[in-house]
């Protein structure tokens, strides 16, 4: 049994039990994705018709400086991670709106999160592999 008073438990959290966390994270990831997706569109348009070697070269390209930073790979990685976070938040809204069976809701969310984790892990692994081999 909790020693918290019901008032303390609910303060600032409301009916969702998580307060405005979901709303706020969805907005923050959206704001970050505005410049990142514009950069991604520019990057991909710039790789239309490119062969494998040129694509690898672009992804692993390092900025020259005291420390060589693979900026494109870093931006791609950031784009993918933030995009997937935003995606899970968005898909959760769809599930919350249309799936009314609690078990189905839990199953679908587990499925979505597992799938998202797989996509993210595979993509980041590919990025690392590219950076290490080029």
């Amino acid at each position: 049994m909790s020693m918290e008073t019901p008032l303390h438990r609910v303060q600032g959290l409301g009916a969702s039990h998580s307060g405005v966390k979901h709303f706020w994270r969805q907005r923050m990831t959206a704001a970050a994705l505005v410049p990142l997706s514009i950069w991604f569109a520019w990057a991909v348009l710039g790789l239309v018709g490119a062969g494998e070697a040129q694509v690898l070269g672009f992804i692993a390209r390092s900025l020259n400086g005291p420390v060589a930073i693979p900026l494109n790979a870093i931006l791609l990685g950031a784009f993918i991670v933030i995009l997937l976070y935003h995606m899970v938040l968005g898909l959760q809204m769809v599930v919350d709106d249309y799936v009314h069976h609690n078990g189905g809701k839990i199953f679908l969310m587990l499925f979505i999160r597992a799938g998202t984790f797989a996509v993210g892990a595979v993509s980041l692994y590919a990025l690392l592999t590219i950076c290490r081999t080029v």
């Binding site: 907005r27 959206a30 704001a31 994705l33 505005v34 997706s37 514009i38 569109a41 990057a43 348009l45 710039g46 790789l47 239309v48 018709g49 490119a50 062969g51 494998e52 040129q54 694509v55 690898l56 070269g57 672009f58 992804i59 791609l76 993918i80 995009l83 997937l84 995606m87 968005g90 898909l91 769809v94 998202t116 996509v119 595979v122 993509s123 692994y125 590919a126 990025l127 592999t129 590219i130 081999t133």
Partner: protein, 133 residues
């Protein structure tokens, strides 16, 4: 006495769609489509990391006409979700929430998203893409 049929609330097939309703539903649909699109993004990266043969398979599928249709859908979905997302962020900060402005920006987002997607494909087909290669 038989109960009278209760009045039903009008639904999507009954309403005359205001543009704000269309953009709202399209925002959600493009979001779901883009979620599917992350699979393509993962495929592109894993193919690039897996060697020439795997990448050529990807390129071949991407260049085929069904591949181009899917990629155009992906491009337009991204353009729409990005532009309409900016509209949503503006609303969240309290700008443009009155009905005439929301209607105007709704049409603006629709027109601009088509122009952006078509423009990107026009550049690509005119050989103006590939500048990062």
């Amino acid at each position: 006495m038989a109960p009278r049929a209760r009045p039903l609330s009008p639904h999507m097939t009954i309403y005359r769609w205001p543009v704000t309703m269309a953009t709202s539903i399209t925002h959600r649909l493009t979001g779901i489509a883009l979620s599917m699109g992350t699979l393509l993004l993962a495929w592109w990266l894993i193919a690039a990391a897996s060697g020439l043969e795997a990448y050529q398979t990807f390129s071949h599928v991407a260049a085929s006409w069904p591949g181009q249709v899917v990629l155009f859908g992906f491009t337009w979905s991204l353009a729409f979700h990005l532009l309409n997302g900016i509209r949503h962020l503006a609303w969240d900060m309290g700008y443009g929430f009155d009905v005439p402005t929301a209607n105007r920006t709704g049409w603006l987002v629709i027109v601009l998203s088509v122009l952006l997607a078509a423009g990107a494909f026009a550049l690509a087909y005119a050989g103006r893409g590939g500048f990062n290669a």
